[in-house]
């Protein structure tokens, strides 16, 4: 066996046996509005703007010295649609066409390392920008932050909700891709499948063939009927995903159990040639994917891939049920 190959396999096994990261130690709590108002002040609160009232409400209630709105280009907001600002609030609307470039541009403008106590509401982020944002924060050595996530009561048109126009082809998220040059014979794909079957099709078509595929479904789902809606939509991608796909389940609102589930899957396939991760479901599960990548994917043949869209719907959900605060630490 080639030394390079040997090293990769040993690294996979060794890291797994030695670290066996337990993501469930991270802290999550459900918070009410007065919890937010009474929470100790964050230095910086960041949120991604969309027309969901709940995001704006939480932004306004949250207790922070500075608050930043990020406006992502794919939502195509007019300045007349921007939120009204208080004295300690700012809008960042970068002149770029994709949200990952927005993130980079924002981080060039704002020295985020000077803030010791940060909170990010991930509800309105696009998944690609969320992954890249956390990846960037990790590369800037930010170690700890609070994350807010609000669950919707329901999606606007239930399983027929349109989240975006037809996605482009899947590609690796910047900063989140390394390839095994020797082999793709045992490529492993793990997808968190959401409502948009076209995203699943794009991801499954990213490579001509996969050795093994897994779909993670959100169960328990955010609302009781969302699981059935999710399965119905995911089935429409079945011919591309294939009947040989394995299904797993993780709570739709729990990034930590999601990360743990990924770890469990990978533990059974430590001889993978490349591992491809693709979070297509809730932002909470997306957070779980990036956590796994940061703790166990960097420096290995792991990539996060995502099919972005040119345009996203400004509002897809109705109401707000629970709001969660996750406290995460980055490696």
């Amino acid at each position: 066996m080639l030394l390079f190959q040997k090293k990769a396999q040993i690294t996979n096994k060794k890291n797994f046996l030695n670290s066996v990261m337990d993501y469930t130690i991270f802290y999550k709590e459900q918070i009410a509005d007065n919890d937010l108002a009474n929470h100790s002040k964050w230095d910086l609160y960041i949120s991604a703007y969309n027309q969901n009232n709940r995001i704006r409400q939480i932004f306004s209630l949250s207790n922070a010295i500075e608050k930043h709105w990020l406006i992502f280009p794919e939502f195509d907001f007019n300045p007349s649609e921007y939120p009204q600002l208080a004295a300690n609030e700012k809008i960042f609307n970068e002149p770029v066409s994709i949200s990952t470039d927005s993130v980079k541009s924002y981080l060039k403008k704002v020295d985020i390392t000077k803030y010791s106590n940060i909170c990010i509401d991930i509800t309105g982020f696009t998944r690609a920008s969320l992954i890249y944002f956390i990846r960037m924060l990790s590369s800037l050595n930010l170690k700890k932050m609070d994350i807010i996530y609000s669950e919707p009561t329901e999606y606007k048109d239930r399983e027929f909700t349109v989240f975006s126009n037809l996605p482009k082809y899947a590609e690796p998220i910047p900063g989140c891709s390394e390839i095994n040059p020797l082999s793709s014979k045992k490529d492993l794909l793990i997808v968190a499948s959401g409502y948009d079957h076209q995203l699943i099709i794009k991801v499954a078509s990213y490579k001509k063939s996969w050795s093994t595929k897994y779909q993670i479904f959100g169960l328990p789902s955010l609302q009781p009927d969302m699981y059935q809606e999710n399965r119905f939509k995911a089935y429409q991608a079945n011919s591309t995903m294939g009947d040989d796909t394995f299904n797993r389940f993780a709570p739709a609102n729990d990034p930590f159990v999601t990360a743990q589930t990924i770890q469990n899957i990978v533990s059974k396939h430590l001889d993978y040639s490349n591992l491809y991760l693709s979070p297509l479901s809730t932002k909470a599960q997306t957070l779980g994917f990036i956590l796994y990548y940061l703790y166990e994917g960097i420096g290995k043949h792991v990539s996060i891939i995502f099919p972005s869209s040119e345009k996203y719907s400004k509002q897809t959900s109705v109401g707000a049920s629970k709001t969660w605060k996750y406290t995460i630490e980055l490696p």
Binding site: S139, P172, S177, L182, I201, K208, S209, T240
Partner: protein
């Protein structure tokens, strides 16, 4: 176990590629074998739509499969086949990483070229390593490695064996990965801590390693090294230019086969400011066109594919001689009988339709518009229904209605028209050749039957292995996918497919419709253009369906349309091209002929596999020329809003009360 569950050759193991190989050569396919000779030094671009068999064909020539068919003996591969195939997927490179602006224009192209050099070299060295070990000629390995080292621009490594070289190349490749990742994360572009030093000149390893092999292993100096690069469509234009340059610069013993979707073949540029010329620097093969054109050969190919797969489930000795006999076949007489039983004592849907149409005009005050019907006369309606009725055969009744509607469209007296049709029907019973019904049956029987089956919710239109072959239309994956879904449906219906009994029409239809929907959903369209293509295909399919299911279809077996070159402009042209690229529409070569001295028309057919989704015919017979307004409304995204009106206006000439006359002329031409 579903013997048809794997539909993609990329999901096959190496053993499966060999096991499920069905040769498309022989008297009808000689052309393919000659064009795809791996010993030929001429590079080839092998193009085709998704599922046309490209991957299976290319992988069949890959070294591991060569070994399988030569008893796992490398020496036999070299002696018997005289070439070594090195197959890999350009999609495995994650090549979009090299398109990042953070790398800068020049740097990203240089990095891509360097990465490719390393990537391809690793693949070919892995194969050579296997050959050396199999032949037991390791004594020459060190000298070979020494010469490889001299191909580097500079390198501080010691190579004792090929494993050392491959390890080194992998390490160098990792440096590129690191540079890309760090450029993605760096906020400051001037940070050059991770800049990779490029140690190999472009093309050096790819083209020279095979030459070095023939030098050090001279007994195999005539062996061809065939690089098989699949998924050319997945790389960017500048990356394609690099591949084209390799082809331009190729030297013996190397050659190239490049696999791509049709739409991926977009440029023939090279770095030498020259373009690759077809038949001089490369040959182009369009696999799906060949399969579609070789109808008989394709049919027997499909039968063989079917048998090969079925061997996983059924013992060879219990194969049925006629594969069609595994499937229930459509029996027209039985279906018509069932319709009669179902509607015994009830009004059939087409009669309800006729009554409703007549009721709409008997209320009109103007007698000219009533075409001879008395005002509010239910008796007249009953008389017409009775006159046209053929209780024992609902299909003949449909023929009567068709002729009747045709007369109505000509604004003839309706009562007299019904009598005329009846007299023609009586003539048909005794002297069919003299009757108008003969022409209706000759041209429109399939359409009227399809109408009847749909109206009465009776199935059976698509059934039988020959139909699956026709539906697949030169695309083996569609053929297998239909069988896969039929098998699943049959199990769901508690049948024992291929093991006991026959597969019902219901299971077949369900499986076919599933395949049709899968093809539609899996088209890999993207972005706003993708959405527009979906909308356009929906428009044209609904339009063709509307004509087919009208009271007087203007063309028979309508699944095709023509567009004058004058009408195919700008955005409509772009959408049509995309639809052809993704095989929603098939461009029919014969369509490009002069209608008169100044016009050229393009002829298209909706892909047959989409026929079940919209209940269109599989066969191509009638062709409807689209007016400029229709072309715009159907295919131009900025005119989609006009589609409903354009559709209604057109159909008003084909459906009672036929307020628009113009479309009747096409039909009269047909009947002359």
């Amino acid at each position: 176990m579903n013997p048809f569950s794997i539909t993609k050759a990329s999901d096959f193991s190496n053993e499966d590629i060999a096991k499920y190989w069905v040769d498309f050569t022989g008297s009808g396919g000689k052309q393919l074998k000659l064009l795809l000779n791996p010993l030929d030094s001429m590079p080839k671009f092998i193009l085709g739509s998704k599922g046309c068999g490209k991957t299976h064909l290319l992988r069949y020539h890959d070294y591991p499969i060569q070994k399988i068919r030569n008893g796992n003996n490398a020496k036999d591969v070299l002696c018997n086949e005289k070439y070594i195939g090195i197959y890999f997927l350009l999609g495995d490179l994650n090549s979009t990483r090299f398109n990042r602006e953070s790398l800068g224009n020049e740097r990203r192209q240089s990095l891509f070229e360097y990465y490719m050099e390393l990537f391809i070299s690793i693949q070919v060295l892995l194969v050579i390593k296997d050959i050396i070990n199999s032949l037991g000629v390791q004594d020459r390995e060190k000298a070979f490695c020494h010469d490889i080292k001299n191909e580097f621009i500079s390198l501080d490594y010691v190579f004792n064996e090929l494993d050392d070289v491959i390890d080194c190349l992998c390490t160098l490749q990792k440096e590129i990965d690191n540079e890309i990742v760090n450029s993605d994360l760096a906020l400051d572009r001037s940070d050059n801590r991770f800049l990779t030093k490029i140690l190999i000149a472009r093309g050096t390893f790819i083209l020279n390693i095979p030459l070095l092999f023939t030098k050090h292993f001279a007994e195999y100096k005539n062996i061809r090294f065939l690089y098989i690069l699949d998924e050319y469509d997945k790389i960017s234009e500048s990356q394609k230019t690099y591949i084209n340059t390799l082809i331009w610069e190729k030297k013996n013993p190397c050659s190239f086969w490049i696999g791509s979707r049709n739409y991926g073949f977009t440029n023939t540029n090279t770095y030498h400011n020259q373009e690759l010329r077809q038949n001089a620097e490369y040959e182009k093969l369009q696999l799906d066109v060949i399969l579609r054109q070789q109808k008989k050969k394709y049919k027997s190919f499909c039968k063989q594919v079917f048998k090969t797969r079925l061997l996983d489930l059924v013992d060879k000795n219990s194969f049925k001689k006629n594969p069609n006999s595994y499937f229930e076949s459509f029996n027209e007489a039985d279906v018509l009988e069932k319709i009669n039983i179902k509607f015994q004592g009830k009004i059939k849907p087409h009669t309800k339709g006729l009554i409703s149409n007549l009721k709409n005009i008997i209320v009109l005050k103007d007698p000219k518009l009533r075409l001879g019907l008395r005002h509010n006369s239910e008796e007249d309606i009953a008389y017409i229904v009775e006159t046209l009725s053929v209780p024992e055969n609902p299909l003949y009744e449909k023929f009567n209605y068709f002729l009747f509607y045709r007369e109505w469209a000509k604004r003839k007296n309706i009562i007299e028209s019904s009598r005329f049709v009846k007299s023609e029907f009586e003539k048909f019973k005794t002297a069919p050749k003299l009757s108008e019904h003969r022409k209706v049956i000759e041209y429109y029987k399939n359409d009227l039957l399809a109408q009847l089956l749909e109206e009465t919710k009776s199935g059976g239109y698509f059934s039988g292995l020959d139909t699956f072959t026709d539906l697949s239309w030169g695309n083996p994956r569609i053929f297998i996918s239909i069988l896969k879904n039929i098998y699943k449906s049959a199990l769901y219906n508690d049948e024992k497919p291929f093991e006991d009994g026959i597969i019902s029409i219901e299971s077949q239809e369900k499986g076919i419709l599933e395949s049709s929907n899968e093809f539609y959903e899996d088209a890999e369209l993207a972005g706003s253009d993708g959405m527009n293509v979906y909308k356009a295909i929906s428009n044209i399919s609904q339009f063709l369906r509307g004509v087919r299911f009208s009271d007087i279809p203007s063309q028979s077996s309508l699944s095709s349309f023509s567009i004058s070159s004058n009408f195919l402009l700008n955005d409509a042209s772009k959408i049509v091209k995309l639809a052809v690229d993704h095989s929603f529409l098939i461009e029919i070569e014969q369509g490009r002929k002069d209608q008169n001295s100044s016009k050229i028309s393009y002829l298209y057919q909706v892909n047959r596999i989409l026929a079940p989704k919209w209940n269109l015919p599989i066969a191509r017979r009638g062709v409807i020329p689209l007016s400029k307004e229709l072309v715009e409304a159907i295919f131009n995204p900025s005119s989609f809003k006009n589609y409903e009106i354009a559709y209604s206006t057109y159909m008003s000439g084909l459906n009672a009360p036929f307020s628009k006359k113009s479309t009747n002329n096409e039909q009269e031409e047909l009947f002359k």
